[in-house]
């Protein structure tokens, strides 16, 4: 009898669901030891609907074709000196943040999805997580290649991996993923697939890729297009995991709600750097942070949470505070990096007169009142040759690890620093916000362990007590990668390349 050719549906079933097996002589609980401790109850894994509808063999074929095209464009970009087409060399600093802060996070995500891809009990969920794990690994590789061309012409790219594990502000994305990866598989996948990839991705991915498009960076734009189909799959996985967990058991609802509350806030705090990139670092701006938050979170996310209400899920309480902070976030973040710019691995600057007018227009309720006078004062000092850098080290939040620069926006007092603290086993801990404090108080056993860069310097674990020693420990080449853009070697090189006097 002639072998029957499989139809697509059958082939799909055999190459996904049929990869699982029954545990006839081993205890299933021992095979999946992480599945129960978080309190999540799964009654029937077969109810999982595969979000990708993709088999492994098709995945490899499709991605290989995509990658071949991507690398052909990278080659063309390098041969044609594509870096000369960016709007201005200040733009390149956004890429330095991407490579030092975001790309290593892709690697951490790869690691986390490899873990969930092993530990989730359902075969459909395991295969989805495995594919995403490979996606994230491809993303860090393709990002490194996209930026390697810039590394030939600009400072601050070469030690991104070393820096990610050490530099003070990079502990923010690093600790974010450490927090997620040291959770159980269900919290991890809710944190990253739902809160980050589904709810917040348009506030991370779109700003960098649109920023690249508006500023003539074809290498990064091409990466963005290539990754787009992956991101779409990741978002689908995020929505599927939430619906699946909520439909499996009503006891899952409060646990999932707690994770959504926590990870929306953790993700939002991480996006502070994106807000500042959009409003201050792009020479050609495409949208303000405030507009992006309104479009992608308040409108799109609002509809999502209305949809989730039928499961008993509520809009996280932190959304109210975030809405109030949107007039202040980018300005306060850039001011922090501007004043600690002597210790950052990218350049900072004061906005030009035209840029300040753009900020006034986009932030009519806050910029002229609170931030314009500050930046004008800084610009005047810089003009006189007295560029301001803040001495010493900032106090950090125990949870998000960001310097405590956030103010009492929730209380309409944007000029009062937000101080929160709690006691735990005889020690005092400090926070930037009620939400970071709540996260700590829910799991103090975990967050007492935070590697806070400022305290690590004081303990003598970062090369020495002087800034120069710490910079060496960071492999942050003092005088080349840091400080103001004006007068930097990047600026000089750019002017020489473009023939500007």
């Amino acid at each position: 009898m002639e072998a029957k050719k499989l139809n697509v549906k059958e082939k799909y079933r055999l190459l996904t669901r049929d990869l699982d097996w029954e545990f006839s002589y081993e205890d299933r609980k021992e095979a999946f030891p992480y599945e129960e401790f978080e309190g999540i109850k799964i009654t029937d894994w077969s109810k999982w609907e595969d979000p990708f509808r993709l088999t492994m063999d098709a995945y490899w074929k499709y991605q290989a074709e995509k990658e071949k095209k991507l690398y052909a464009i990278y080659d063309a970009f390098a041969q044609n000196n594509g870096h000369l087409n960016v709007s201005d060399a200040r733009y390149v600093n956004a890429l330095k943040i991407f490579l030092t802060a975001i790309s290593p996070a892709e690697y951490a995500a790869h690691n986390g999805f490899a873990f969930t891809g092993r530990q989730l009990g359902g075969i459909g969920a395991r295969i989805a997580a495995q594919m995403q794990s490979i996606d994230e690994l491809r993303h860090i590789q393709t990002q490194i290649h996209a930026m390697s061309h810039y590394n030939k012409h600009f400072e601050g790219f070469d030690e991104f991996s070393h820096m990610h594990d050490r530099v003070w502000y990079l502990s923010v994305p690093k600790s974010f993923f450490d927090d997620a990866r040291s959770s159980g598989p269900f919290e991890y996948i809710v944190a990253i697939s739902f809160a980050f990839e589904y709810v917040l991705t348009n506030l991370l991915f779109v700003p960098f890729m649109s920023g690249a498009a508006y500023n003539g960076d074809m290498a990064t734009v091409t990466f963005g297009f290539s990754a787009q189909s992956d991101e779409a799959r990741h978002m689908t996985l995020g929505l599927e995991i939430i619906k699946f967990l909520l439909e499996q058991h009503e006891d899952n609802v409060p646990i999932v709600q707690k994770w959504i509350d926590k990870w929306l806030w953790r993700g939002y705090r991480l996006l502070s750097v994106v807000a500042m990139m959009m409003d201050y670092m792009l020479p050609q701006k495409f949208m303000s942070w405030k507009e992006a938050w309104e479009l992608y979170f308040e409108d799109a996310g609002g509809a999502l949470f209305r949809d989730l209400e039928r499961y008993g899920i509520k809009m996280p309480a932190c959304a109210e505070l975030i809405a109030k902070e949107k007039d202040h976030l980018s300005h306060q973040t850039w001011w922090t990096f501007y004043t600690f710019g002597h210790a950052a691995a990218f350049h900072t600057w004061t906005p030009s007169a035209e840029e300040m007018d753009w900020l006034s227009e986009k932030y009519p309720d806050s910029f002229d009142k609170w931030y314009r006078p500050r930046f004008e004062m800084a610009a005047e000092l810089a003009e006189k040759g007295e560029r301001f850098y803040s001495e010493g080290l900032p106090q950090l939040c125990q949870t998000c690890q960001i310097p405590m620069f956030y103010t009492e926006c929730g209380d309409d007092r944007p000029d009062d620093t937000c101080y929160r603290s709690t006691h735990y086993q005889g020690e005092r801990f400090h926070f930037c916000s009620d939400h970071c404090k709540d996260i700590f108080e829910d799991e103090p056993e975990k967050y007492v362990h935070a590697w806070l860069p400022v305290h690590q310097i004081f303990q003598g674990n970062c090369g020495g007590a002087d800034l120069a020693d710490v910079m060496k420990y960071y492999k942050l080449n003092d005088g080349a990668v840091n400080a103001d853009y004006m007068g930097s070697s990047d600026e000089q090189r750019w002017k020489a390349l473009k023939g500007i006097a």
Binding site: T336, F429, D442
Partner: protein, 120 residues
């Protein structure tokens, strides 16, 4: 609430407990309404130093770059320690006046409320 962990009794190491700072205590200092300094700052200080030394050495290093710093009348500063009103004795040591590890010292300078009506 407590962390849910694989093993009962999981507890992370206290990364910043007092004994890890070589005898120093970490003191956070913030100057209200002076957002020229983006955030409060952290200082590892000897708990046996007199408060006067903080005013003389630590504050100028951390906050002296502000144009209003030189105008401060130190008799009129309103201090708080760990969010409680606090009247320092310049001669007594930090430890004697209740400064402990990871404490928060805030200063308000009435009449000097930052620049340009923007709390700079």
């Amino acid at each position: 609430m407590a962390v849910k962990a694989l093993q009962e009794g999981y507890h992370g190491e206290f990364k910043d407990s007092a004994e890890k700072f070589g005898g120093a205590i970490v003191v956070y200092i913030g100057w209200d309404k002076h957002l020229w300094f983006c955030s409060p700052k952290a200082f590892p200080l000897d708990p046996n130093m007199p408060f006067g030394a903080v005013v003389e050495n630590v504050l100028p290093a951390g906050f002296g770059a502000h144009p209003q710093f030189a105008e401060i009348d130190w008799d009129k500063v309103e201090w708080s320690l760990n969010q409680q009103p606090f009247t320092p004795d310049m001669e007594k040591s930090l430890a004697e006046q209740g400064f402990d590890h990871k404490c928060l010292l805030r200063m308000k300078t009435p009449g000097l409320d930052g620049l340009h009506g923007a709390s700079i």
